[in-house]
Subunit: 296 residues, 4 copies
């Protein structure tokens, strides 16, 4: 299989590498010529065998919309676009509306795994028709982790369902990070009794109820900087947390813990001294390679 | 090594089995004669070689206090008591005050792992003196999971520190369970788009940021009852969540997510129809063998 | 002054009465002929002197939009529409876009006061141009409470600002009701010590920091049913609480207390036994004449 | 009637003035000789007619406990101590245990009203026996606001009930302040639409559902400093908010809004830039004369 990949940033670049390792031929395009395989989206279309598949991996919102628009003109009937970015699920409805009349197929793919995905594989949640997803399956199989397909890949539902599931995934992620952060702050505060905070988190990695991949990343972070002195407690929020909360409101679903973790990020804009949020910032840094603001 | 173990309920019985598998001789006592190895705590003391070690694994609060009191009379100078129950860390200060004048050593041990501990090993967080903990290390090594000691065992600090760390562990656990529960409720509510809720959680097990042991248990629960129709949303709270919150208050540590998860349990007493809390109840059932109230 | 009033429900009917008491001539229209002064919106337009003012007081959303649409056809250049309903501020932008090309003026008015407004006057928050609001001032002066104008009326900003302020007002209202509700539940639960819950709330009416109009209403409710035994704890939420939360998210404003009160209402759909929410339901009943679901 | 009053700080001094205005003779003691009427508690006892009544109005905790202890030695059987401070209700049980064997009567009085109490009267919540409270009624009638007694005074229950009700009062107060604060922050943030934030709060004073005394104080604060630029967002918390939350935990009462307001204060220690918390700080300043930390 030979596909196109638009967007060769931190995520896209790693995904290209993983796809190639799994014998998918990839022609990549990025508006940075230094990393791009071709000079334009038109050239990309020309380089691919029909029916073409183009995976879009650029910042969500207007940039993704612009790429999809441009591709809708460069591609032909029977081709397929997969949006793997962190797009809002409603944008998938827009994309479908644009592409369907032209006979261009569309699949939305929520992708989790951050900078570790190259090595571990990416968790994939996809939305679209059975037929289209079946057709793109070799790509999903290359990107997803080793092991049973259903443990790293799911066809969630029709168009939009993949990004919806990814959105909820990120809402959950926020609250789990907040949970560890709050626990860290209490342990860190209780200095007269707790003599080994890092060791405590480290010891939770096996056997305990709270063991998780995020816990392992927190341990990595603590081993580098045990009191997170170098890290600012300012934590940005991506769109997905907000959208999860919006959906909770629209569907009358109570979300006290997830909302608490989003509001804690909002508050961190007003003062970056919170140990909880330093732990959250350290976690984001570990899994996403998100830039961490250094404490002053 | 030959030790005594008081309390042969769900946890104690499994721990006796695991200790014996790891070549620790165990004489167990329970007030249920059907499962007890000896007839009384006195007989237990008589059966053990000096200096004796007795691990206490009974319900926290007055029952643990009663057992420690009785043991303080049955044991001799140089013996050791380890409280492995879900005790409040302040009870450790009381125990130490009682035992120190008699020359009886005391170690507190927070134990995580639930019914899966027999198979996987137990995560251990202990408090006490270096010397006492070194002395009891063969027991800890038998109980903790395979792998590097520091990934399943930690000496957190002086007396009380072990139970304190376990308390915080459980506070975090509450919030993580709540996080998955809230995500479940949103996915379950969005039925027009989300066609495979169980499959979505299942697919998060590899590669994603939210993968964890609790997630795996949630998948087990969903596979048995995909909409948790058989499960009441009433979720009891153990003492540890409440104590975590009390400590947060005493130490001026903000805990919006952990408090949200505790309050959600309080609310579940007043109406048990919440999908979030059904997921939480299912999780507790999976890891702890906690009885689940059946939905009417 | 002689104006038109569309919508003669609980609110509209009271407002017509208050306007007439303050010497504003009112021709009312309702699709219920039993209460309507004229047979159609066309007849309403015909009955009013030019330039006409029509106050719309119908359910927000599509019904208000439909009335504004119909009025846009029945009215002439230089006439004015005032939407006094609980509309979302974004609908004001739509109305303005519809009406501006026709030269029909538009003012949005947030109205607070519930069923007590007839007697006490209505708190008014309006959005629009200085000129338009100046022109409609006799109406606002008739509706607002006695006393200094600025204590019951405000020109908040351009179109939409009135409904925006009303939206935030309602968000605050939710959290205040929740605050009293939570206090009620704790007092009610602590029966061994607290012998006079109603008397306690009653005594807070003068001198204390928490005295308020909502407190007075809560006392009225408690005097009718001291433990709210007759009242279900199910509390509906109007759009305004949700919109407030959506705006908080969009503007990165942390809203832990207001969101908590909205989520508490969501939870009350899943079980209606909460004493907190019974108090909230009783409050809504007192100020809004909102139907209260009887406890089974 | 002639009573003793211990503690002539901001509150005690005002209360002495109000009592005297209402024809209660007051001998005041303070450890600051500049404001004290007598040189010692012994002198105070000597100056009062038997049976004596001494009102204690000093900082809660060890200082109040010390004064009650000393008074228990200076007073005689049949005398009465009233603790009007912001004491924890559990301290009332201690006081009763100390005083009962000596035949000294004890009443606990929760007092609300802050610096405005001198002018408006104080809201009073008292605990103790019917007989003792009847005996002290002239004092309560002098301190409470004009109007019906039951609107500014309540006998809540036995010893401790007065301080318990005051504690809950303050918990509610925290959440109401937080509610206004959150609304303020959203309005303040939405600058493109909301042109008159102060005017909006001002207009809520009559007719609206959210009108309250705290709202009036907020308007006073906004008129002095419309964006709270001079005020730090750091807000201390008194014991009563924390105790309310502890009692919620002990009694399994969900308190999401009140806990949110307490946690917001904790967070404000870590960064003082929150507009919400600036509004809360301004409110505290208005009603309590609490020192406000100036923004840097």
């Amino acid at each position: 299989m030979h596909i196109g990949l638009v967007g060769l940033g931190k995520m896209g670049n790693n995904m290209r590498a993983r796809l190639r390792e799994h014998d998918i031929e990839v022609t990549g395009y990025d508006n940075n010529p230094a990393v791009s395989d071709v000079a334009s989206l038109k050239d990309l279309a020309a380089a691919l065998p029909a029916p073409r598949i183009v995976w879009v991996m650029v910042p969500s919102g207007p940039i993704t919309a612009g790429v999809v628009k441009e591709l809708s003109e460069a591609l032909d009937e029977g081709d397929m676009i997969i949006d793997g970015g962190n797009s809002k699920f409603t944008s998938d409805f827009d994309n479908e509306k644009l592409l369907e009349p032209k006979g261009i197929k569309y699949v939305d793919a929520g992708v989790s795994g951050g900078v570790w995905g190259l090595q571990n594989g990416y968790g994939l949640m996809v939305g679209g028709s059975d037929e289209d997803i079946e057709y793109a399956m070799p790509i999903f199989d290359a990107l997803r982790p080793e092991g049973p397909r259903e443990e790293g890949f799911v066809h969630v539902g029709p168009t939009g369902a993949g990004h919806y599931a990814k959105m909820v995934h990120n809402g959950i992620e926020y609250a789990i990070m907040q949970a560890y952060g709050e626990g860290f702050e209490l342990l860190e505060t209780k200095k007269d009794l707790i003599k080994d905070v890092t060791g405590t988190f480290k010891a939770w990695q096996r056997g305990t109820v709270v063991r998780s991949w995020l816990l392992e990343l927190l341990v990595l972070g603590l081993e580098q900087d045990p009191s997170f002195e170098e890290i600012s407690g300012y934590v940005e929020d991506s769109g997905e947390g907000r959208w999860t909360l919006e959906e909770a409101i629209d569907n009358a679903v109570p979300m006290p813990a997830i909302s608490a973790s989003i509001f804690a990020r909002f508050v961190s804009r007003q003062g970056d001294g919170s140990p909880t949020m330093k732990a959250v910032a350290a976690l984001r840094n570990q899994f996403g390679g998100h830039a961490v603001k250094k404490a002053d």
